[in-house]
Symmetry: C2
Subunit: 225 residues, 2 copies
DNA sequence: CGACCATTTGATATGGATCAAGCGATGTGG
DNA sequence: CCACATCGCTTGATCCATATCAAATGGTCG
């Protein structure tokens, strides 16, 4: 049971409200349960409506979780990057599907095993709560995104990515324009045009389609609603 | 400490994944901590950025949680009705504001007190997790809502309300058209026109502006994306 | 009754979708 | 190693759903 707990070691970012569990003395020495499984680019990690047997932690690569509506529209709910835990967005069954955007290494743990630990180990239970709370906040922020204008959505997206993957203001995008469009609830053309326009106003520089330099961070922040 | 736990008695709906705590033998006999406080129509329950000191459970009435963007647009994140627990959508500070739509009675509990209980009582911790998970699912469903067409959004809204407050297909709406518009990310005029159109096609009947009869449930379901 | 507020309905404007074509990078087979 | 096919992206032209502006209607409460 200590092994499962180790899956949760080293949260990728600081959590609010003192919800980060105190590190137990020997936690760092414990092995992660479940190997880091490799997933190839574009392969499915899990599908909507599959039983939510496992939880996942990104070791390397980028993952998209998404849902396809009846008429084929796809909404991407989140991009997950190294350190992020995902797959616990639900009760019994996954309500979203997950795919590897790039080649990935993903640590996998049995949900039931973890819940069993949580039943005994309060620290684990509280950590699960913290993760879920953070995911809830992310979803709520995403909700707000979807009522903004195209420019605002793109600006918000760029700032979000900058926080997560930027090196001195340069953002390397793992995902295609189509992925971005489906994340932002826009068409691919609108995403492209908006990036071009931001380029023309020197707010950003589109070095290549996947490499974007944020030139005027504060202008983006102002656009961020 | 048993008193705080009682705040969580009787979840309003069934939870997935066996996450509902087993009822402890004497739980039903325990008093709810924190009086059922009255809130007048349109009064604030808490404000965005206030410290999230309390959790809330609706005893009677309807509550909206919302966020106002810089330019004044308002997005309503959720409507809360009797039995719903809200206010735990966040870490340290509320990210949304909450207001009473109608006169309300709301049970209030200190968050820190509850977290303290959760630290000892695993059942409570797991129940908190279940509540948060459900809220996450609600937020994700709301995300999907916001990429749909106006007709689909209104249909989804009506079906959602029907599940929560309908008496034999008749829905009594506690909220104004403006509230509905801000919940659905539409203008008030579009909401009104869409309801009128659904009325003309005999899918619903708008008895009065706040009373709507669902005539063709399956047509609505088909519109529900 | 009259004032006020919520709602509906109508006319027009517009942001982003859609349809369509061109372009550049990457990879493949001859 | 080059010609060509493919794929992802950009750019242009047009269309349409919904927003916005405006006015009429209806319902509620003093």
């Amino acid at each position: 049971m200590q092994t499962e707990a180790a899956f949760l070691r080293q949260p990728s970012t600081q959590l609010p409200g003192g919800l980060v569990p105190r590190r137990r003395p020997n936690a760092d020495a414990i092995e992660v349960l479940g190997m880091a499984m490799p997933f190839a680019r574009n392969s499915e990690i899990y599908g909507e409506n599959e039983p939510a047997e496992y939880l996942y932690k990104v070791i390397s690569g980028t993952v998209r979780t998404y849902k396809v509506l009846a008429d084929g529209r796809r909404q991407i709910g989140a991009f997950h990057m190294p350190g992020d835990v995902f797959g616990f967005e639900t009760g019994e069954e996954h309500t979203f599907s997950a795919e590897a955007i790039t080649d990935c290494k993903i640590a996998v743990i049995k949900r039931t095993a973890l819940m069993a630990v949580a039943e005994r180990d309060n620290e684990v239970a509280r950590y699960m709560l913290a993760l879920t709370t953070r995911e809830l906040q992310r979803a709520q922020a995403h909700m707000l995104l979807l009522i903004k204008s195209a420019q605002e959505r793109v600006a918000t997206f760029l700032l979000e990515m900058a926080e997560r993957v930027s090196t001195r203001g340069t953002v390397e995008l793992a995902m295609s324009r189509q992925d971005i469009a489906d994340y932002l609830g826009l068409s691919i053309e609108t995403v492209s045009r908006t990036l071009s326009r931001l380029g023309k106003t020197a707010t950003i520089e589109v070095s290549s389609s996947r490499r974007i330099v944020l030139r005027d961070h504060s202008a983006l922040s102002r656009l961020n609603s």
